[in-house]
Assembly symmetry: C2
Homo-oligomer: 240 residues x 2
Amino acid sequence: MTNPTAAMLVIGDEILSGRTRDANMYHLAGQLTEQGINLKEVRVVSDDPAAIIAAIRTLSEGYAHVFTSGGIGPTHDDITADCIAEAFCAPISIRDDARAILQAHYDTQQQPLNDARLRMARIPDGATLIDNPVSKAPGFTLRNVHVMAGVPSIFQAMLASVLPSLTGGHPLISQTYRVERGEGDIAAPLGALAHAFPALSIGCYPFQKDGLFGANIVIRGTDTGLLDEAMVRLQKEFPA
Amino acid sequence: MTNPTAAMLVIGDEILSGRTRDANMYHLAGQLTEQGINLKEVRVVSDDPAAIIAAIRTLSEGYAHVFTSGGIGPTHDDITADCIAEAFCAPISIRDDARAILQAHYDTQQQPLNDARLRMARIPDGATLIDNPVSKAPGFTLRNVHVMAGVPSIFQAMLASVLPSLTGGHPLISQTYRVERGEGDIAAPLGALAHAFPALSIGCYPFQKDGLFGANIVIRGTDTGLLDEAMVRLQKEFPA
């Protein structure tokens, strides 16, 4: 069985201008790997409808799942929901189920559910709501696209709501082995190892610390037996 | 004058598997913004030749500059240079100028310049080398694509070598104003402000801290006078 694939679309000028350091990509990558879903591509685009719509169409066609972050709040630059609707030619309007969630929340907060806040109840037809235990305004899933907030605590909470509903594959397991040799000395034997185990992904991540050259060699795969076998071979090649 | 555009391509399985948290995107975004170059898109792809080549072609056509990070070391998974060559149908081989740099470096280190290390001297025809003061193995620029290492300290050093040679635009200036009101109360006046100043980018970044709701409103643009004018209007709308 091949593991399902996924892509992520990060939406927001604040990431591209360097004002904000994205935290959601790293979180999503770790979570998907645990669940056996292969994150194959990430794109970051600005708050530009044409760019968002084009990316959504391409990624939705190319991968089993697409996760978006950002642009679903109440302000004028929150255009993600409308772009998703347009990407799939789906009608979009204020939906009763989403409005009810917001109404209950703002009643509790003793704040008015004004026009701006009501924008957060704009959900494309046919979408399923994603629960937001942090600040209530829901995300949604339309087709294979999961639309979530950009604020990391909310993104993480929404992802936790979505992930259990997705069919994962064999979890990707990784083992790391530290070799205190220059990367140029490691390269040839490592290439041979990668050639001998085509089902595994073998990466070499060099470090240089206190004048010491070395590399962390990471072997990734879904077959524990194969992984162990490669690791034994690696340790024989570079004894500790 | 419109500012030049740019895109970034991050190459590496380790980012997509969640093993490594990318640091280069945030650094590049900040540096480009200072120089008046608009970073419009970032893509992250795995160590897969087809994915790298397709992304390079698309981004190189779409933007004035492309910056890549990752995949230029000596190991089997370092395939960026060959992919760039293929993307532009340029021949690639071990180049004398790059070999001389490596030879001098490894002589000093009393380490052999073996086949693996020599791979780092594979540079496409027509490319200009990018200086690497950290670990010597050079990056390169081919057409409008600047190819740099993934290790953050080396990426940053290479970027510092490249940036002064690029023609920037008006630096993008930003001003931030903190409003201690819920985002839903801010949205309508902010939308009107954005409408009144179409040349400025106005973003709203909510926070929630110790039970306090608020948002940082960030106004970005290249015209200081216009920025000040918008900021005065904003402060009048939401007095401190």
